[in-house]
């Protein structure tokens, strides 16, 4: 009797698998195709939302999210709820690589064999904050501040944490002594934090003022070369400078 039940169960399971494998989106009629296309657009939209949340998280925390769970509060939706919205025959679960700023490629082989659906998923048509590269969905950061923070984190391969923490890198965060929730980004010469090269309010990064060391011999360091053109700088003595294409020029 048990054998019969087992046989029936195996038969049912194998027919279900066979049915899934037999689905060919290329033979779908207009309405079925439109439905798959809408699902595909929704999945792209999800990836765009994740990209947006990634940027918000980076700006608020000065660190890269470790996994999708970190983004749940920004998105206002859990990973499970988001996955439930997708047809698992067509789309894989979401896996976020926070360090590399990318999401896994999510088409299953079932839908990937339809060249036109694959091309649509991989094209930039419905994407603004993401694009496909090396079989991953890469996240685009839009704001200059986010790009700057991500560049600092990437350069030292460490998130920006409090400078009071001995394990912080040479780029770190200090709370403003006079304000509430106003942070400074501190740039030291090395992670020993013996010599301070510059510091600034994150929001002042694009135009200044940025406070810099008064020893001009450090102005060839990459941190100075990577400052935006035209940004206003003041050294520790209060002298005013301007970042130009080739140098840091003192303003008389």
């Amino acid at each position: 009797m048990i054998k019969i039940y087992m046989f029936i169960s195996i038969f049912i399971c194998s027919s279900l698998v066979a049915n899934t494998n037999e689905v060919d989106t290329r033979t779908f009629d207009f309405e079925q195709r439109q439905e798959v296309l809408q699902e595909l657009k929704n999945v792209i939209q999800q990836e765009e939302s994740i990209a947006k949340a990634y940027e918000v998280y980076l700006l608020e925390n000065y660190k890269r999210p470790a996994s999708f769970t970190d983004l749940s509060s920004v998105l206002g939706i859990s990973l499970n709820s988001m996955i439930l919205e997708n047809n698992s025959d067509y789309f894989k679960n979401i896996v976020l690589d926070g360090a590399k700023k990318s999401i896994n490629y999510r088409l299953t082989s079932l839908i990937e064999k339809d060249t036109f659906l694959k091309n649509m998923y991989e094209s930039d048509t419905f994407r603004k904050k993401t694009f496909i590269y090396n079989n991953k969905i890469q996240i685009i950061l839009e704001s200059n501040l986010a790009k700057n923070i991500y560049n600092l984190i990437n350069t030292q391969n460490k998130n920006l944490i409090s400078c009071d923490n001995p394990l912080s890198g040479k780029y770190c965060i200090k709370k403003d002594l006079t304000g509430v929730n106003k942070d400074h980004i501190y740039i030291y010469e090395t992670s020993l934090k013996n010599r301070l090269l510059m510091y600034y309010y994150p929001k002042n990064y694009e135009k200044g003022p940025i406070v810099i060391i008064d020893d001009i011999s450090f102005y060839d360091n990459i941190e100075f070369k990577e400052l935006p053109l035209g940004v206003v700088l003041y050294d520790f003595e209060g002298e005013k400078y301007l970042k130009t294409k080739s140098t840091i020029r003192k303003v008389k």
Partner: protein, 240 residues
């Protein structure tokens, strides 16, 4: 008596024949009108997609048009060359690349489509696959308004790709090659001549478009207000 029957039969046959010819003519006219209406709607949809997503209209696929259409309400009909009995697989007016396709034997449909193409002033080339004629429709002046935005988008995307390539420690030469491969030759509409009288070969034109594209990237990097782009600029300024 026999004469009367013969006359009556002849009249009936003539009437039936006239009716069927008239119906066929009516149906042909309806099909021609439908094709012209579909052409207008599809062109408008392509314009909207092109504007909304900064996409070259000639690159828009049939799937992107289907995804753009509202659900239900028989919108499938505008994609069919025969609205009465056709379906998307055997009677589509558009192939999957969203090129118009019409059988060469359907003269009235062909004329109807050609009349619309002429009215819209669209540059068209055709290819033939058996009896099926494919129409590759070029960008109109209206569409070319977006060309600059398309180039600008390509500049921004290429900067993202450069950033990834640098993170992966790719060589400078491979990055430069990647930039050249990303040059959107077809949407750079400037003639690239230094003098009006100058005449350029295809390879000279290609090289100048690449140089123009590299320069656009350089200017964009220079005007950026973030350390990532300045890092790229410092690394590649001599190659751009």
């Amino acid at each position: 008596m026999i004469g009367n029957i013969w006359v009556s039969s002849a009249i009936v046959i003539t009437l039936v024949f006239t009716a069927s010819v008239s119906y066929k003519a009516y149906e042909d006219i309806q099909n021609a009108k439908n094709i012209q209406q579909s052409f207008e709607l599809i062109t408008e949809i392509k314009e909207l997609i092109s504007k909304q997503y900064n996409k070259d209209p000639s690159q828009i696929t049939r799937d992107e048009i289907i995804a753009f259409l509202p659900k239900g309400k028989n919108w499938e009909k505008i994609l069919l060359s025969n609205r009465r009995s056709g379906n998307i697989h055997n009677d589509s007016l558009l192939n999957e690349n969203a090129e118009f396709i019409i059988d060469e034997n359907e003269k009235i449909k062909l004329l109807a489509l050609k009349a619309k193409l002429k009215e819209y002033g669209m540059q068209t080339s055709t290819t033939q696959n058996g009896t099926e004629i494919n129409f590759q429709i070029g960008m109109t002046n209206k569409n070319s308004l977006h060309e600059d935005e398309i180039v600008q988008n390509r500049v921004e995307k290429t900067i993202e790709l450069i950033s990834l390539a640098m993170q992966n420690s790719n060589s400078k030469s491979s990055i430069v090659e990647m930039i050249e491969n990303n040059t959107p030759y077809s949407v750079i509409y400037q003639d690239m001549k230094n003098l009006d009288s100058e005449s350029l070969t295809q390879s000279q034109l290609k090289e100048r478009k690449e140089a123009y594209f590299k320069n656009r990237i350089k200017q964009k990097l220079l005007s950026s207000k973030n350390s990532r782009d300045m890092k790229i600029y410092n690394e590649l300024k001599d190659e751009l």
